[in-house]
């Protein structure tokens, strides 16, 4: 891996900065666009962390948008609030700042997201350092120009790019075999956003087997080193709150299980099918004259879903979803235990996030990025991976469409997805025809790196490059139909009747795609392991 520490690093960095610069200018142009309430949420967090002592951060109730991310994120907000205060003190004012919508606030927050994406830049740079230049460019296109990230971070408003930077960094260290660093970075990431904890079992098993295993003494020392690192990170994060006796309050805020199984708009996961089944059975039973209670709360009600909305099928508790996620993860954990390989760690982590997405409690549709971004790193490894990634990233981006529901942003999201699909199509086609032609004259010094590719280039030659089969094609065509139906035909033909149908269709249709991706990833891990 290390022998390719490329001689053209300055060129590579210049190119990477170029890709990043193009993305940044687009992000700057998007500043005046629609933003969700998350902008106000983060603004309020700036105000909380700036105006209150640390002991009250997690107990403040000035606004309904209470701080519910782990402490490192709170520290980050504290850091940003120092600059915000310089620019416009009202941004960080606890009471006067409520729902403050001046340009200064919006520009400051939007630009802080754009700047924080530098972490993503470093993360993706580090994970692609050892690759050939073409593959490197391809991954940059996939990650830095990811339409999903732009929609979620720069239109909807969140700081995901920053967090994915840490995740990619951690994966790149693990892939190089530097386990302590990888574990350390993951622990830091967990203290930024605890939703990433879904991958913790994979990390645990992998680090235990790959780092700590082998001999009692060596194993024990290594285990204690790793343990010390993780404990140190958590101590740095939670220590001050322990000191102030705030831990129970912090935990309560971070895990609001009062929320429903599904988010306002159903994330395209397994529970969509479960709900549909329940509704279907209830519908038929009512048709046959059984007296079935109508559900008290609608699923689309979002936050109010704490009531038990299932009519026929058993209720789902957070514990049940937890067990389902673990069950779905177990084959991968088992494989990782048997054969912990650095090359596969990115896939395993992505798979863990996929399981969490499919079976988790109160999953946001945004969480699909958690596995789409890491999978980009492995998408260039073979033709099959490329085909899978092509489908997955389109589905994942499409499932984010309902986040932007105003007419003004409609062309933006469509063009972003279209551009991404076309770019992917060009890149993958170019790469896999290139591989075929390169088979003839492999250069000697490239051989070591190309070994892994030989198989894939052969099958590319057999199948004639990057061509999708008819199932994939018709599935993508279906995306188009769902979109046209939901946006044009449905309002035209049915008017205001069944207003939930378009969103439901998107959820179900994308859930099919994600389910397929889940099975495919599992199969892939099993075959490669």
């Amino acid at each position: 891996m290390e022998e390719q520490e490329s001689p053209k690093t300055p060129v590579a960095i210049a190119q990477l900065v170029w890709f990043f610069g193009i993305a940044s200018t687009i992000k700057l142009l998007l500043i005046p666009s629609y933003h969700s309430t998350d902008l106000e949420v983060h603004r309020h967090w700036l105000a909380i962390t700036h105006s209150l002592p640390l002991s009250q951060w997690y107990s403040d109730e000035t606004s309904e948008w209470t701080l519910d991310y782990p402490p490192f994120f709170a520290y980050l907000e504290r850091f940003l609030s120092a600059f915000a205060h310089l620019i416009d003190p009202q941004i960080v004012h606890l009471h006067d700042g409520l729902n403050y919508k001046a340009n200064s606030a919006i520009y400051f927050q939007r630009i802080s997201v754009i700047v924080s994406d530098l972490f993503l830049l470093y993360g993706v740079y580090r994970s692609t350092q050892t690759l050939a230049s073409f593959k490197r460019n391809l991954i940059w296109v996939l990650v830095i120009w990811s339409p999903g990230l732009i929609i979620v971070d720069h239109l909807h408003f969140q700081y995901n790019g920053f967090l994915f930077g840490w995740l990619l960094l951690s994966i790149s260290f693990l892939a190089q075999g530097r386990d302590v660093m990888g574990g350390f970075l993951f622990a830091v990431l967990l203290c930024f956003k605890h939703l990433f904890a879904v991958a913790a079992p994979v990390y645990f098993v992998y680090l235990l087997r790959h780092y700590c295993w082998g001999g009692v003494v060596r194993g024990f020392t290594r285990l204690s080193v790793m343990g010390a690192v993780v404990v140190a990170v958590f101590a740095a994060a939670y220590g001050p709150f322990v000191y102030h006796g705030q831990i129970p309050q912090v935990i309560r805020r971070m895990f609001p299980f009062g929320r429903g199984l599904c988010h306002a708009y159903w994330a395209p996961n397994f529970w969509v099918f479960y709900i549909m089944l329940d509704k279907g059975i209830a519908f038929f039973l009512r048709k046959f004259g059984f007296n079935v209670l109508a559900p008290a709360a609608s699923f689309t009600g979002g936050l109010v879903g704490d009531a038990s909305p299932f009519v026929i099928l058993p209720q789902i508790t957070p514990m049940a979803t937890f067990i389902m996620v673990l069950l779905a993860l177990s084959p991968c954990l088992f494989k990782t235990w048997r054969d912990p390989r650095p090359r596969l760690i990115a896939r395993s982590i992505a798979y863990a996030f996929t399981c969490g997405f499919l079976f988790g409690w109160h999953v946001h549709e945004k969480a699909s990025l958690h596995f789409v971004i890491p999978l980009a790193i492995v998408a260039v490894e073979s033709l099959e991976d490329a085909k899978h990634y092509f489908l997955l990233s389109i589905v994942s981006c499409y499932s984010l469409f309902p986040l932007l529901h105003e007419a003004q942003e409609y062309p933006i999201k469509v063009l972003l997805l279209l551009l991404h699909s076309i770019l992917m199509w060009f890149c993958f086609s170019a790469q896999f025809t290139k591989n075929v032609s390169m088979k003839a004259g492999l250069q000697a010094d490239k051989k070591a790196a190309q070994f892994g590719l030989k198989g894939s280039s052969r099958c590319a030659a057999e199948k004639g490059g990057f061509v999708l089969d008819w199932v994939a094609k018709s599935y993508l065509f279906g995306v188009l139909i769902v979109e046209i139906w939901g946006h044009f035909l449905h309002p035209y033909l049915l008017g205001d009747k069944f207003p939930f149908v378009p969103l439901m269709l998107i959820s179900i249709y994308c859930a099919l795609g994600i389910l397929h991706s889940w099975i495919w990833q599992l199969k892939r891990i099993m075959i490669l392991a």
Binding site: K8, V11, A14, Q15, W18, F19, G21, I22, S24, T25, I26, L28, L29, L30, I31, P32, S33, Y107, A132, S133, F134, N137, L138, A407, Q408, P411, I412, L415, L416, L418, L419, I422, L423, F426, C427, S429, A430, Q431, T433, G441, Q443
Partner: protein
């Protein structure tokens, strides 16, 4: 032609020597021009939509608002009145409030867009009541009319041009060239930010240029007449079209027949477009008088042209009547056009034609009557078509064109869009592997290696890092000053004047440079012709 072929060979050899090329555009062009054009145009469209999120000119500024309101008002007028009343002052059409002052094709375009607006938001184009109408939906629909005009007219025209122009240089440079034309920041800012429909007239002009380059003179003349009938500003290109087409006709066996064919096409096109106004002399003259607003004075605001700049020393407006100023400006414009016209009549050539477009539009910008800052878009278009020949000039002119419009865009609250779009342009220009990145080194403008040593020397001085750095620094400082400081009370327009002066100096240098470039082309016509024969 042959030199181009050689260039291509050299490029191919280079590629073979260096199989692991880091060109990030290679994947983009490997499927051919059209797919890569599709990809770039989607990106260009995305940028345009994003610019559309920003404010338009005159947003929330009653009672006159800005160009956005003017365009909306035209839709209102054309939708609700018959064509013969469009240009006539009447109880229902108050010409003093944004009266229609563009040729009839703009009227028809406004009518079509008005129908579109009416189907989705009838209030926005209702007669009388819609004055100063501003709403979320209204803005969106208006923005979409510009986007659709861009996609339907400008983009296909550029594709047509690129397909005609190809065969020169490396394949991947085509992608760069397309990006340079489609993502010209000035055009995007004015059309999709400030709000205008320059894409239509410039698109028609581009198509006309492409048709002229592919020897379809009749099509070219029709397309150009359409452009002229959309915006009278397209007349900036008239000398170039006239002289190039005339020069080609003269080379024909039967020049008179060719000229009369062209004349018929021109008259026919005009007759069709002006049909509603041809029933009486008064009607036609009425429209004409609307198109030439001489009462507005020889210059407006702080445009970086000759009249405005020299008015710091000579008070033109006070010393002379409008009548004599009209003659002055006409004579000055024609005189400065003349060299490039003569060159084209004597030896019409594709490249010379493009330079001619550049020169005649610069003459008009610098010397004609009633020039607006936005008119710098017209010289920029032929220069962007010449991007592969003049990469550094394009960069430099774009910089100063942007800068000359900065006060205008600042008024429109488009500073963020200005900064972002300018950065995007610079990044695209210096795309890794693109000509912009390459020509920084020893490789200079390709076609002038042996013959034009003197020019090489001059342009190497003009584009010397120190010189460009100095001017760049000046403009950067002026930007910052303009944004952060208040001018002294005695001279409220001090900064505008400074910007104007700097830009004017650059534009004059450009005019001289391009004129001599054009004449250099015909200095060695014999050798070129020989080469053509060989090919």
């Amino acid at each position: 032609m042959k030199k181009k072929g050689e260039m291509k060979k050299v490029k191919i050899v280079e590629d073979k020597v260096n199989p692991e090329n880091d060109d990030p555009w290679s994947w983009l062009v490997q499927k051919g021009i059209k797919p890569s054009f599709l990809c770039i145009s989607i990106f260009a469209l995305l940028v345009r939509v994003a610019i559309g999120l920003h404010p338009y000119s005159g947003a929330n500024t009653p009672p006159k608002f800005g160009d956005y309101e003017a365009q909306r008002h035209w839709m209102e007028i054309t939708l609700n009145l018959p064509p013969r009343d469009w240009y006539r002052n009447s109880s229902v059409n108050d010409l003093s409030y944004w009266g229609l002052d563009y040729p009839p094709l703009t009227g028809y375009q406004s009518y079509i867009h008005g129908v579109f607006l009416e189907t989705f938001d009838p209030d926005s184009v209702a007669l009388f009541t819609s004055r100063g109408y501003e709403s979320y939906l209204g803005k969106l629909l208006m923005r979409w009319t510009v986007l659709s005009s861009d996609v339907l007219i400008f983009f296909p025209a550029v594709l047509y041009f690129v397909l005609v122009y190809r065969g020169m240089g490396q394949k991947s440079d085509v992608a760069w060239h397309v990006a340079m034309i489609l993502l010209s920041p000035c055009l995007i800012l004015i059309d999709h930010g400030h709000f205008q429909y320059n894409c239509i007239s410039l698109g028609l002009t581009t198509a006309a240029v492409a048709a002229a380059l592919s020897q379809k003179d009749l099509v070219a003349s029709v397309l150009y007449c359409l452009a002229l009938n959309h915006k009278q500003m397209s007349a900036y290109f008239a000398p170039a079209f006239f002289s190039y087409l005339l020069g080609r006709c003269l080379r024909n066996k039967n020049p008179l027949l060719e000229v009369s064919k062209l004349g018929l096409m021109v008259i026919g096109t005009f007759a069709i477009v002006w049909w509603p106004y041809l029933h009486s002399k008064d009607a036609a003259l009425g429209v004409l008088s609307r198109l030439a607003p001489f009462e507005r004075g020889i210059y407006e605001d702080y445009v970086a042209n000759f009249w405005c700049t020299s008015s710091m020393l000579v008070k033109w407006k006070k010393l002379y009547t409008t009548q004599s100023l009209r003659i002055f400006s006409l004579v000055a414009t024609l005189l400065t056009c003349l060299p490039s016209m003569v060159q084209q009549v004597l030896s019409p050539s594709s490249k010379g034609f493009l330079y001619g477009l550049l020169n005649s539009s610069f003459s008009f910008y610098l010397f004609s009557f009633q020039v607006h800052e936005k008119s710098i878009l017209l010289p920029l278009l032929p220069l962007s078509l010449l991007a592969l020949e003049e990469p550094r000039s394009l960069l430099w002119l774009t910089h100063f064109a942007m800068f000359s419009m900065f006060p205008l865009l600042h008024r429109d609250k488009l500073v963020l869009a200005y900064v972002a779009l300018y950065a995007l342009f610079i990044l695209l220009y210096f795309a890794p592997g693109g000509p912009g990145g390459r020509c920084n080194g020893s490789k200079t403008l390709d076609h002038s290696q042996k013959t034009k040593k003197g020019w090489e020397f001059l342009s190497s001085i003009a584009f010397h890092p120190l010189v460009t750095g100095f001017f760049f620094l000046c403009s950067l400082i002026l930007h910052v000053i303009y944004l952060t400081m208040h001018p002294p009370n005695k001279y409220p327009f001090l900064f505008e004047a400074a910007i104007m002066l700097l830009c004017f100096s650059q534009f004059v240098l450009f005019t001289l440079y391009f004129n001599s470039k054009q004449w250099m082309l015909s200095k060695h016509p014999t050798s070129k012709n020989k080469q053509k024969k060989l090919v």
